[in-house]
Amino acid sequence: MATLKVIRKRIGSIRNTQQITKAMKMVSAAKLRRAQEAVLQARPYAEKMAALLKNLSARVSAEAHPLLMGREEKKAHLLLLTADRGLCGGYNANLIRAAEGFLRSQGAEKEVHLTIVGRKGVDYFRRRQVEIADRYINVTNRPPEELACELAEKMIGRFRQEEADGVYILYSRFRSALSQVPTIEKLIPVATGGEEGEGEITEYLFEPGVEALLSSLLPKVVEVVIYRALLEASASEHGARMTAMDSATTNAAEMISSLTLQMNRARQASITRELLEIVSTAEALK
């Protein structure tokens, strides 16, 4: 039976932990709100960009630009977005599991290279001695525009130099604070999304020309996809952390109440014992 003092100490330490998890939850909730806002704000741009691309690519053949042209995939490249920090429930684990699944399914017939963003993913694959082509850690504080630009450049470079025949991006899509879904999308060659959507081709005046516009637009499209994925990932991370910290706080409260019960019982027992001792001593003295 634990002594009173030990139990009291444990309650104290759990209460401290609870305070930390509660604070972390609050911070995450605030950050989540901001991240969610950013996701919403970025949507019109991405949508408009996709519409533009569809419109343009409907006018040219698939060979018009190298970034549109698919080729036999011998080498694939996976861009994996994970978090730098832990304590966010299954967020990183889910992403890593999805990445492992991708490596298993694709790795049999082709080479797969990895670019990893976020310390957690980097650590995991380094421990398992998986080769990482490129890594980005401590990037959470960098403005996502900048990072997206850099990543897009790298990925396009790999595709152009035939180090990769297809580039995929794996990130966590933000559904709600409770649900984040690891999602794989094909980044390059760029999907135009305009295979069936014919019919409403409007007549345009193009300046400087369809090809020139397209070749300027395509790298931007890649960048926007990455940018959006970064925002979604950050919203997901905060959502996952908030949920995890919320349940940690609840667990701590439960633990405190059960320990308090135990402590009261121990106190009661010691009082009863003392009383018994006093009574029996008095009895003996008679």
Binding site: A38, Q41, A42, P44, Y45, K48, M49, L52, N55, L56, E145, T202, E203, Y204, L205, F206, E207, P208, A212, L213, S216, L217, V224, Y227
Partner: protein
């Protein structure tokens, strides 16, 4: 002024503007162009430069760092990498950027890959400074 054109200005981080305006001027790849109501459907590349629009007799100025513009059915959509109103521009920062770029350009040779990057940065800084000089939007 019965006829208006709807101007939508979108940047990656936000929908900056979605309003009815009278007239728009933007820096196209083949030179500056103006858009009035009943404009032909039109798609163009935008350069780094100054964009402005007129709304109810007032002219508003923005610094634009490249992008695309589409005119379709009385709606003009501008997709910009970045855009700032004249009164949002941080003049100190733009000045510092100009100096940095000028220094870089002096150090590098013209063939250098980074020369172009520095030149682009200089152009952006100059446009910001130019636009910041114009009067505020309100």
């Amino acid at each position: 002024m019965a006829e208006k054109i709807r101007l939508k200005l979108v940047t990656p981080s936000r929908l900056l503007l979605d309003e009815e305006v009278d007239e728009v001027t933007a820096p196209g790849a083949l030179g500056e162009f103006g858009v009035l109501p009943k404009h032909i459907s039109f798609l163009t590349l935008l350069e780094v430069g100054e964009m402005s629009y007129k709304q109810g007799g007032e002219r508003h100025h923005l610094a634009l760092s490249g992008g695309y513009a589409e005119v379709l059915d009385e709606v003009m959509t501008v997709l910009a990498g970045a855009a700032e109103y004249s009164d949002e521009i941080d003049i100190e920062r733009a000045r510092a950027a100009r100096e940095r770029a000028e220094k870089r350009m002096a150090e590098l040779s013209q063939e250098d890959k980074e020369f172009a990057a520095a030149e682009a940065a200089l152009r952006r800084a100059l446009v910001r400074l130019q636009v910041a000089g114009k009067e505020a939007r309100k």
